[in-house]
Subunit: 368 residues, 2 copies
């Protein structure tokens, strides 16, 4: 059932919008009040390129929330469930953000520029509102803003070659999540080793929205010898890799501990953070759910089935957030949040995908 | 340039989604992380029905942020730039919400259920996060949540007849923005006299997501004698009527005073509210911009041109947020935020709509 998308004025266009249209974008989604390409008409080819070659993605929707001022570090830590006190300038960290009840409200990458300047490169919720409410109510000396910054991702096993051809071999030495300022033909940007896939790659944080098409075309040209092509954050690869999609996998009650993000939550952190007391209670009472992979029986599954109840003996014991057919595994795979006491070898699980129910077996994550 | 929309799992489906698909929705947008129909394939017919007949719209995206607890009233007032202290249970009010810098962050309808229970029926930003941050940081005894509530709008000059045929003649006596609990074939709902048009109408706040198709079909059947049809919040009518679209007309720096919402801002309110001090400074320094209508010269304009600079003698003096062709006026009309000292009879204004610049003349709002 293909529907059109309304290109209305209430949703912002990315600085790469025109370039993606010129390169044949076929489908959009919306994220952080901005259009994001969903695919360019060849989803399977785009997946292959990510796994075996190199793809470029307009991920300007990863908006930056800038914390600037003498209390920026204190605010950053207070917003963040992970102990970030030893983070160095030029370093990034994946950080769960929780509300006061310990529920996950975003899972950005925190980029530390300086002791008085941080960015949160956010998933799909209005963290600028959240951060500014807390900063103002606590009287912090911090300005919260959304700077003119729009990431372009280069992902896949050949991504490092493309980015090194553009910027030099130093990019090979960047550690994961680290970043450095750079310039390309007068375009100001950051080069970060990061991206929402497990295939390796970089994100080029464009710092001048008027140069979006220029940056896109630079990367496209540099990638020609590597058969680069346009794509988008890839649901199939992210499920194979077990990556969390905040807006998909985390219902509004989910906490980071049940979502499998425990290693990014530091309940012993000396500083307080939003949700710390609530998460300590969660631990004391026992974590009620856990995030698992599922193999689903039967023929190739439609990707439009979501979310669905996970059942055991007719009782709902969880929710499947998304399912896909994995070309690498040649199986239907899915992600789910299920009751924590269901063991990995549980028999009799089923996913109620409407007219097409499937048997389910639990898999460890990542799938591959 | 028609593009598809990705029906992905990170964006929620409305309880009316299946019904709108069955009734031929052709185009969607996204609002509050949820799909909303944009049109059903006949935008001009849908406009005509709104102006002369009756239309039904899936506006489940108007999510409710519920404030419940002994401090709910105190929080509601603190979040709101309008004095709401005399609001009665069963009454609604249009209320600007500001951040601590006095910038508009949403313009919901506040529904007062009881002294300890309010809903904010929100525009497109995450006010549940905003409200819960402020409630928690101030130590208010309030629970902030998103209840299972999804409005269905019935709009147009014949809307009252349709809604009265369903619920009885008492709906004619409901004052604007007032609401009452009701039930229809076991479906729990509120009937409110409200809606995002100036053509009159009602919103039925569905309180059980599992009954979306049932409610849709009830309204459709009741509307048959009045030639009801499906539609969506209508950009042409809202510009003719001068209605504010928060995500479209308010850039991230805009305050409610320059947006023309001054009559809903009570700077003399005895209670404090977020942004009050900042807005007093705005008044003291003089309001810098104002919201106006524009007539644009030339042939029928494309609706896809937005936002565009408004220029005077080659200098940018404002931003046009959206333009349409008005069938009632047989003219191109637009909304803009311009410098406050530009007078209504200013000559020489132009809107730089890319390849197709237009001369502009200021109009009072509403246009019609």
């Amino acid at each position: 059932m293909p529907f059109q998308i309304a290109i209305g004025p209430n949703i912002r266009k990315s600085p790469f919008f025109d370039a993606t249209v010129a390169d044949g974008v076929a489908s959009f989604s919306v994220y952080n009040h901005m259009f994001i390409p969903a695919h360019f008409g060849d989803p399977e080819g785009e997946y292959d390129r990510l796994i075996h070659g190199v793809a470029m993605w307009d991920v300007a929707v990863q908006r930056q929330v800038q914390l600037k001022g003498s209390d920026a570090g204190e605010l950053a830590q207070y917003l963040t469930a992970r102990d970030i006190r030893d983070t160095q300038p030029g370093q990034g960290k994946y950080v769960p953000l929780c509300d006061h009840d310990g529920r996950l409200i975003n899972d950005p990458v925190l980029l530390k520029h300086a002791v008085d300047k941080y960015w949160l490169s956010i998933a799909d919720s209005d963290i600028a509102l959240w951060a500014s409410a807390i900063a103002a109510e606590r009287g912090f000396d911090v300005q919260v803003s959304e700077p003119d910054v729009s990431p372009l991702a280069v992902q896949g096993p050949k991504a490092a070659d493309v980015v090194a051809d553009i910027f030099g071999d130093w990019v090979h030495d960047l550690e994961y999540f680290c970043f450095r300022e750079a310039e390309l033909d007068g375009i100001p940007l950051l080069v970060a080793r990061s991206g929402w896939s497990k295939q390796g790659g970089y994100e080029l944080y464009l710092r001048d929205a008027s140069r979006g098409t220029d940056l896109w075309n630079h990367v496209k040209t540099a990638g020609l010898p590597y058969d680069i092509g346009p794509g988008a954050p890839n649901d199939v690869e992210r499920i194979e890799s077990g990556l969390l999609s905040y807006g998909t996998d985390a219902d509004k009650h989910a906490n980071p501990l049940e979502l499998g993000l425990g290693k990014f939550v530091d309940l012993e952190c000396e500083d307080d953070f939003v949700g710390k007391a609530a998460l300590r209670e969660v631990v004391a009472e026992g974590i009620k759910r856990r995030r698992v992979g599922l193999f689903l029986s039967g023929g190739r599954i439609s990707q439009n089935v979501h979310p669905c109840p996970v059942c055991l003996d007719g009782n709902i014991v969880g929710t499947m957030s998304e399912c896909v057919y994995s070309p690498r595994l040649k199986k239907n795979i899915a992600l789910a949040l299920i009751e924590a006491d269901i063991s990995d070898d549980q028999k009799g699980l089923a996913v109620e995908t409407g007219d097409d129910p499937r048997k389910a077996n639990i898999s460890a994550l990542p799938f591959c």
